[in-house]
């Protein structure tokens, strides 16, 4: 319980920093003023509410959603390397949106919401089929390799499409590495609804996922239906990942880092782990974003790059441990 409280405090701190730290100095006093006595003629107040606030909301949605998606995926695949980024689900959502807006010739928020989710679901099904997951318990190494390959392929298509169309650098950054900049332009409302739906579904079926994480034979012996649990988990992961990609692009590695920490906070009770994942995911993403904004001013390092800087060494370390311990 104390660990959960610490995680919550970290999230509050991260949120305050997101709203206060920036090029325009003003700090906490400015934030308080903008929130309590908003003056529409003051550009500093407008910056806080129209730029920082959407950024905070996008960070909360994407961080919480990716954290929970990672936790669900690790429980269901029994693979400590499962992450929406590594397994190509982020890339699937990004790919669907980019190719869809290329075909439709427009890129509005409604279209994005309609495409991100089927894209995420398609990639999830594809990676399980490639990784041998449909025939039974997918081995962690095969599943991870299939995901990394799919992710690399889809993101290279995304880059090719964007570069061929001479899009702005910011568009490229968003769809290839993930970013919280210009969050006010994203479909925050739609994606918040999807994230809440995914969260509710995940929390509901969590006890069944716990049974499935003991292996499908034992899960059936415990009176559950593995196929149905997998379908429920797929829908939850799709809703969460689609929402995250919709507001922040394909941010990688967050779903890899967060579940390990969440287990320390929540123990091995999946509902507590999910709540801890949401809190920690949002806190880490917001911290990473804030650090990215201040390390080399006046330029910003995008949050997807920041998570990769922390996540990639973790991935290598975990993959090495996996090889020593578990079988493929």
């Amino acid at each position: 319980m104390r660990a959960m409280a610490v995680a919550f405090l970290a999230l509050v701190l991260a949120a305050v920093l997101t709203l206060t730290v920036g090029v325009r100095e003003g700090g906490f006093a400015l934030l308080w003023q903008a929130l309590t006595a908003f003056d529409p003629s003051d550009p500093a107040h407008i910056a806080v509410l129209s730029i920082r606030m959407p950024r905070l909301i996008a960070g909360l949605i994407a961080g919480a959603a990716l954290g929970m998606a990672g936790t669900i995926m690790q429980a269901i695949t029994r693979n400590p390397l499962a992450d929406p980024g590594i397994l190509g689900i982020n890339a699937g959502a990004a790919f669907a949106v980019v190719i869809g807006s290329l075909i439709a010739g427009r890129a509005d928020n409604g279209l994005m919401a309609a495409l991100a989710f089927p894209g995420a679901a398609g990639a999830a099904v594809a990676v399980f089929a490639l990784g041998g997951g449909l025939k039974g318990d997918a081995g962690p190494v095969r599943l991870t390799l299939a995901g990394v390959a799919l992710s690399a392929m889809l993101l290279s298509f995304v880059s090719a499409i964007i570069l061929a169309r001479n899009e702005a650098l910011e568009v490229f950054r968003f769809w290839v590495t993930g970013s919280l900049a210009q969050a006010g332009m994203r479909p925050l409302g739609y994606m918040a609804v999807a994230a809440v739906f995914g969260t509710a579904l995940a929390i509901t079926i969590a006890p069944r996922i716990e049974a499935l994480s003991l292996g499908s034979a034992l899960a059936r012996g415990l009176g559950t239906k593995p196929g149905r649990i997998q379908l429920g988990a797929l829908v939850a992961v799709t809703a969460l990942t689609g929402a995250a990609v919709g507001v922040a692009g394909p941010v990688a590695f967050l779903g890899l880092l967060v579940p390990r920490l969440a287990r320390r906070v929540g123990g091995h009770v999946l509902r507590r782990e999910l709540i801890a994942s949401a809190v920690l995911g949002a806190a880490i993403l917001l911290f990473a974003d804030t650090i990215g904004r201040i390390v080399i001013p006046p330029t910003e390092i995008r949050v997807g790059t920041m998570t990769a800087l922390i996540g990639a060494p973790m991935f290598i370390w975990m993959a090495r441990r996996l090889r020593a311990g578990a079988s493929a």
Binding site: T204, P207, L214, L218, G221, L222, H268
Partner: protein, 262 residues
């Protein structure tokens, strides 16, 4: 009112195959209620396949399995899980899970998605931990336990499921003899105390004879013998089922048959 045979399992004309290969052909067997039955036989003879079919983990090509008077394949999944528990071979625990968290998952068939943890759940878990002697280690991560303790934790999980029928697939594999005896003793205690029907796939003939009421010996081409240890562990059966040339003598401690390979 429970009848004597409510928890008997009965396989009738079972035929099971994987793809082209038929593993079990037209097999009929009775597993009496409240008794301990061991399934013996060489590798690849279909022992585990039979056990998995009894628990409905595989669907046979032909034949049925009945539990009491119910067709297992027509039962509601959760209703079956409240009457029959199975521990598959070599189960893998999530990394870092504690003994108590693992054993609690055995309560799955008794709990709705939002039902609070009940007194009955807590009592079943506590009793299971006590039966396997892990009550003092319940907060330890399972990967820090010895092989024998780990196996006992898995057995506690199916004991917490609190079913009148308990199926175990090679629960003693990889354990040293002391721990094998420990595991089989605690299963027998549950059987004797609560009249639980126990069916176990086992390799060790002498331990089977010591701990089990009924033995089923499968050979490469089907059933060799079923009955009391004395009736099953006969020299000609061992030759036919296992291709083993052995002498059978009375166990000096229990008097049950003891197989001594020649």
């Amino acid at each position: 009112m429970t009848r004597m045979n409510d928890n008997a399992l009965k396989a009738e004309n079972l035929t099971i195959g994987y793809g082209e290969r038929t593993v079990i052909k037209d097999l009929s067997l009775d597993f009496p209620s409240g008794r301990m039955t061991a399934i013996l036989g060489p590798n690849g003879c279909g022992k585990s396949t039979l056990l998995r079919a009894l628990a409905r983990l595989i669907t046979p090509a032909k034949g049925t399995v009945t539990l009491g008077s119910d067709n297992v394949f027509a039962m509601d999944t959760r209703a079956l899980a409240r009457r029959l528990a199975i521990l598959p071979q070599a189960s893998k625990a999530p990394e870092g899970i504690t003994v108590a968290d693992l054993v609690r998952r055995g309560r799955t068939p008794w709990r709705g998605l939002f039902s609070p943890w009940s007194d009955a759940d807590a009592a079943a878990v506590e009793r299971a931990l006590k039966e396997v002697g892990l009550e003092d280690m319940s907060e330890r991560p399972i990967d820090q336990l010895s092989g024998g303790q780990r196996q006992r934790a898995w057995i506690a999980l199916v004991l917490a499921q609190d079913t009148p029928c308990l199926l175990l697939d090679e629960p003693t594999t990889w354990l040293d003899l002391t721990h094998q005896i420990e595991v089989l003793s605690l299963v027998r205690e549950r059987n004797r105390a609560q009249g639980v029907t126990v069916i176990t796939v086992l390799h060790d003939l002498n331990l089977a004879a010591r701990f089990y009421d009924t033995l089923v010996l499968l050979g490469p081409s089907g059933l060799i013998a079923a009955g009391s240890p004395q009736d099953v562990l006969m020299e000609e059966n061992l030759m036919a089922g296992l291709g083993l040339s052995a002498m059978v003598v009375p166990d000096p401690i229990t008097g049950t048959p003891m197989v001594v390979p020649r």
